[in-house]
């Protein structure tokens, strides 16, 4: 199945929001950035980006716009909304808290 697990899906949303916070991108460019940043850690097919993108759009966190791309062809560009920005901040803070906690636990050495 190309559908990522829930954990990865949640992470995927967060990553998309973070990448789009830096600059508006269209789907393919976004997938390239994703691969570039995360390396081979995220084992998802390119296409599974789209259900995630559309879901985020429906939730109002990102908005889409058809614009000419760098090679002058029409492409659908996604950008972060005000709502999405706030959501990203919250989620990032959440992530920090949880990952700190988990790493803290994992760093415990047996006595």
């Amino acid at each position: 199945m190309s559908k990522p697990s829930d954990l990865v899906q949640g992470t995927l949303d967060l990553l998309i929001l973070k990448i789009l916070a830096l600059q508006p991108l269209h789907g393919w460019a976004l997938s390239q950035r994703l691969k570039q940043i995360s390396g081979e850690v995220l084992q998802v097919s390119d296409g599974s980006l789209y259900p995630a993108l559309h879901k985020l759009e429906q939730q109002g966190w990102i908005r889409a716009e058809w614009k000419p791309s760098e090679n002058n062809r029409r492409a659908k560009f996604y950008s972060l909304t005000r709502l999405g920005k706030r959501h990203l901040e919250q989620e990032a803070a959440n992530w920090d808290r949880i990952s700190t906690a988990i790493s803290g636990v994992l760093r415990l050495t047996e006595v």
Binding site: S2, S48, Y50, P51, K76
Partner: protein
């Protein structure tokens, strides 16, 4: 979702809803662009064109699936899927119009009948009365532990004297008022309008204020109007005001003439106002005050039951408390006045119950019948859906194999049921509406029939019924889809000959249910029809063909002296007899079958040993000398009246056979004397005639006849016999009366046959409606039986072919298939008969001279059902037995 987010995403949501096609195209383009970009990128990295394409596609995943997954994240996705299911449903139904039309019609009949009945029950039985705070209103009656008036139920009218005591004693728990609904006035000709006889009620001064009715014009009565010496005042109904006085706003204060006496109109009631109770009242158009109208002594009598008491309970008082208080009081009154016709108790019930008590059982019986029909309709449609599912099992299996989700497939099935039900429900509403129009014109005798209307709750009921039908029919067909083995039909080899048996089994179970319900309906209908036949053929004691009756009532104001009245009657009957076509004519105060008419307490002068106050409560009738020959009541002994036994020589009496036997057991009554308990008159018995019935459904009651020429009679029924076409005599007689007194209306012009039909209309109505439902049920069940068997035969064609090839005889095959079909019918019949035996006792109150376990009806239903079932099974069975074995074996 928070409000802010909701507002934020609203434009997108709207776009997703309204521009779905464009969004789909855009998604398509977006995905394609991604792949194109990836290909371009791959090429730029030095891949060959084909390799670049394949690699891009591999990296992308399944585009079809991804597209669907993406679409699934859009809002409104559920709505979209549902709409698609609907479209598929409509398409599949359109593909088989025969099935669709049949199923929808069946549903429409079932739902329509139920909605109509529900509307009636809601409007008539459940809706509160349109008075102020109607829940606190009650009707009170007298009650006899040992009823002397065998003909009446135990809710007896109340005597004025008793009411006075009740009212005094219950001042702190209830407000009490009186009403007497069964009066009539001759409304005189005025301003070029014809005279007419108008139904009227006497009431106490506080009647309208107890009910909480405000008049449209003028005022209602006060206690001051309710006195003997008060000025004559009348309150008229909104209907009469519109019809006869053209809604004249100046009517208040005008004088109208009732029974040739002047009355001042003091008020007009709202058009919707109607008071109805056990003793009628729905047709009353005039209200006058009781103390003003009643004869002297009537209001103080403990015996003359002339009223219904209505009470408004004060807050915190229960009906049972009031009834027990009044009942105890009435017992005390009985101790003080031990006369036999003084009641020894009281009864009460909520005013609404009082108005509709007589319709409760019939209406609930009808509702049960329509419920059965609806259930049968659902089962039938479910059967049809199951059959279709079976026929489409391969298609469904293929769709399942291609990835169609099971839930999706089932949902389609339920949607199909829903579509059929919804169309049926819509059509059913129309049917219900038409049915109600018919009912309202056919049953104008029913209390509260005018208040029947469809409203929001009825619509809600229709929707709920439709939903339930969809659920029931859909659920059964889903049950039949045999869940786990959705692929089994594909695995079924073409040579399997027992396939589809399980499904036929389910349909047979449905059939057993259907047949049982049908049997219950048939038995119910059979009993009601039998009861109605008995009723119509009931012998009221006189021939009912070609006899016309018409009613006249002489106003006392104009015919004050007895001589005037007698002279009028004598002249009238002589002129009627002289009309061409009249074979015989007579006068009687109340004709057979026309009702109770009035009774007297009589004792026998020659039997002095009787206890004080003892006597016989017998019906009293005034008759003219030729009455008995005119209606052909045989004279058993003695003689009829003579023409000079009139006025002060009118103290002679003729007894009915049962009266003679009861009052003079083992004696010859001729020449003996009777004493009237109330006015002290003494009558000599001169003859005995055969019994007649006072009401068609009641056994005959002992009756006394005295000369109508005298004895204070001012009302008379003209009875006319003719050899043919007696109704054509009505107009000449009315003209004749008009010539003698232009102010005198002639009313109730009916042949005796019509009068009987009128009093049996409810029985006729109930039996016809239930019979119609039973016939519908029988047709549905037979059709279901035929359908299942035809299906089974089609399924077993191969098997039958093999049997025949191996030597089975045609009649063996016939028997085999017939038994297969008749088994569910037989099981259904047995369970249906058992269910009927358990439930028909609820019909008892509606049956006349018929036992709830009437053997003939049960036997008849058994025969009818088995005959229909055999007929329904015979066709497929015969077809099976005619199969050409070679053909059958080749068929696949």
């Amino acid at each position: 979702m928070r409000l802010e987010e909701w507002v934020y995403t609203l434009p997108l949501r709207l776009r997703t809803l309204l521009h779905r096609k464009r969004l789909s195209a855009e998604l398509e383009e977006e995905l394609r662009r991604h792949i194109d970009d990836q290909i371009a990128d791959n090429i730029s990295r030095g891949m060959g064109r084909d390799e670049a394409r394949l690699s891009a596609l591999r990296a992308f995943g399944n585009p079809l699936l991804l597209r669907e997954e993406t679409r699934a994240t859009w809002s409104w996705n559920g709505v979209e899927q549902w709409a698609r299911d609907l479209r598929i449903g409509v398409r599949t139904l359109r593909r088989s119009p025969g099935f669709a039309v049949t199923a929808i019609l069946i549903m429409a009949m079932g739902i329509g009948a139920n909605v109509a009945l529900f509307t009636v029950i809601r409007s008539v039985l459940l809706q509160p009365l349109p008075y102020r705070d109607p829940g606190r209103l009650a009707s009170l009656f007298e009650h006899q532990t040992h009823p002397v008036d065998a003909g009446y139920s135990n809710y007896l009218p109340v005597a004025g004297g008793n009411f006075g005591e009740w009212k005094k004693a219950t001042r702190d728990v209830a407000q009490m008022a009186l009403v007497s609904t069964w009066h009539q006035y001759n409304l005189s000709a005025e301003g070029g309008k014809l005279p007419e006889k108008v139904d009227a009620a006497w009431c106490s001064g506080n009647f309208f204020s107890v009910l909480g009715i405000a008049p449209t014009l003028g005022r209602v009565f006060t206690e001051d109007d309710d006195r003997r010496g008060a000025a004559a005042a009348v309150v008229i109904s909104g209907g009469l005001w519109r019809r006869r006085y053209d809604s004249d706003p100046g009517i208040v204060g005008k004088t109208i003439w009732l029974d040739a006496r002047p009355f001042t109109v003091i008020g007009v009631l709202p058009g919707w106002f109607v008071y109805e109770g056990k003793y009628g009242g729905g047709t009353d158009q005039l209200w006058t005050t009781a103390s003003h109208e009643a004869p002297p002594g009537f209001m103080a009598s403990f015996e003359e039951r002339g009223f219904v008491a209505v009470a408004r309970l004060l807050p915190g008082v229960t009906l049972s408390r009031l009834v027990s208080q009044v009942s105890a009081l009435q017992k005390q009154i009985k101790r003080d006045h031990p006369e036999p016709s003084v009641s020894d108790g009281a009864q009460g019930r909520a005013m609404l119950d009082d108005a509709v008590q007589d319709y409760k059982t019939p209406l609930y019986v009808l509702l049960a019948a329509t419920g059965c029909v609806l259930l049968i309709a659902c089962l039938n449609v479910a059967g049809l859906l199951v059959a279709r599912a079976a026929a489409r099992s391969k298609e469904i299996a293929i769709r399942a194999a291609l990835g169609g989700g099971r839930r999706r497939l089932l949902r389609e099935r339920v949607t199909e049921g829903l579509l059929v039900s919804a169309a049926g429900g819509g059509l059913g509403l129309l049917l219900a509406w038409a049915g109600l129009q018919w009912l309202m014109s056919a049953r104008q005798d029913m209390n509260r029939v005018a208040s029947i209307h469809m409203d929001g709750i009825v619509a809600l009921f229709a929707v709920t019924a439709t939903g339930l039908c969809a659920l029931v029919s859909g659920a059964f067909s889903v049950l039949g889809s045999n869940g786990k083995q959705i692929l089994a039909p594909l695995q079924e080899s073409s040579r399997s000959h027992s396939g589809g048996r399980a499904r036929a089994g389910l349909r047979k179970t449905l059939l057993v249910l259907e047949v049982s319900l049908t049997v219950v309906l048939l038995v119910g209908a059979g009993l009601l029809v039998r009861s109605y036949q008995r009723l119509r053929s009931a012998d009221i004691g006189v021939p009912i063909d070609n006899v016309l009756t018409m009613h006249i009532s002489l106003p006392e104001a104009r015919y004050r002296k007895p001589e005037d009245r007698v002279a009028f009657f004598e002249q009238l009957i002589a002129r009627v007899r002289a009309l061409p076509g009249v074979e015989a004519a007579g006068l009687v105060s109340t004709a057979p079958g026309e009702g109770w008419g009035g009774d007297r307490m009589m004792s026998v002068v020659e039997h002095p040993s009787q206890p004080k106050g003892g006597g016989f409560d017998i019906l009293a009738r005034g008759a003219d000398p030729a009455y008995f020959t005119a209606v052909q009541v045989p004279l058993l002994s003695g003689r009829s009246f003579t023409s000079d036994e009139r006025l002060d020589r009118a103290h002679v009496a003729i007894l009915s056979h049962s009266a003679a036997q009861e009052m003079f057991p083992g004696e010859d009554p001729i020449g003996k004397h009777l004493h009237d308990g109330s006015d002290g008159g003494v009558f000599q018995v001169i003859g005995v005639v055969a019994d007649t019935r006072w009401y068609v459904t009641e056994p005959s009651h002992p009756t006394l006849y005295v000369p109508i020429y005298g004895n204070d009679y001012s009302v008379a029924t003209i009875v006319v016999r003719s050899s043919h076409d007696v109704e054509s005599l009505a107009t000449p007689i009315e003209k004749l009366v008009g010539k003698m007194d232009p102010d005198l209306p002639v009313s109730d012009v009916l042949t005796i046959r019509q009068a009987i039909a009128k009093t049996t209309v409810d029985s006729q109505f109930d039996s016809i409606v239930v019979l119609a439902f039973a016939v519908i049920a029988l047709v549905l069940a037979s059709a279901g039986l035929y359908g299942v068997l035809a299906y089974v035969v089609a399924q077993r064609t191969g098997e039958i072919g093999i049997r025949m090839a191996l030597g089975a005889q045609r009649d063996q095959v016939l028997g085999l298939v017939l038994a297969d079909g008749l088994r569910p019918a037989l099981i259904g019949l047995l369970s249906g008969l058992a269910a009927s035996a358990a439930t028909t006792r609820f019909l008892k109150a509606m049956l006349y001279d018929t036992q709830p376990l009437d053997l003939q009806v049960f036997a008849g239903v058994t025969a009818l059902l088995m005959a229909s079932a055999a007929l329904a099974c015979l066709v497929p069975a015969w077809r099976a037995s005619r199969l050409d074995p070679m053909q059958a074996l080749r068929t696949e």
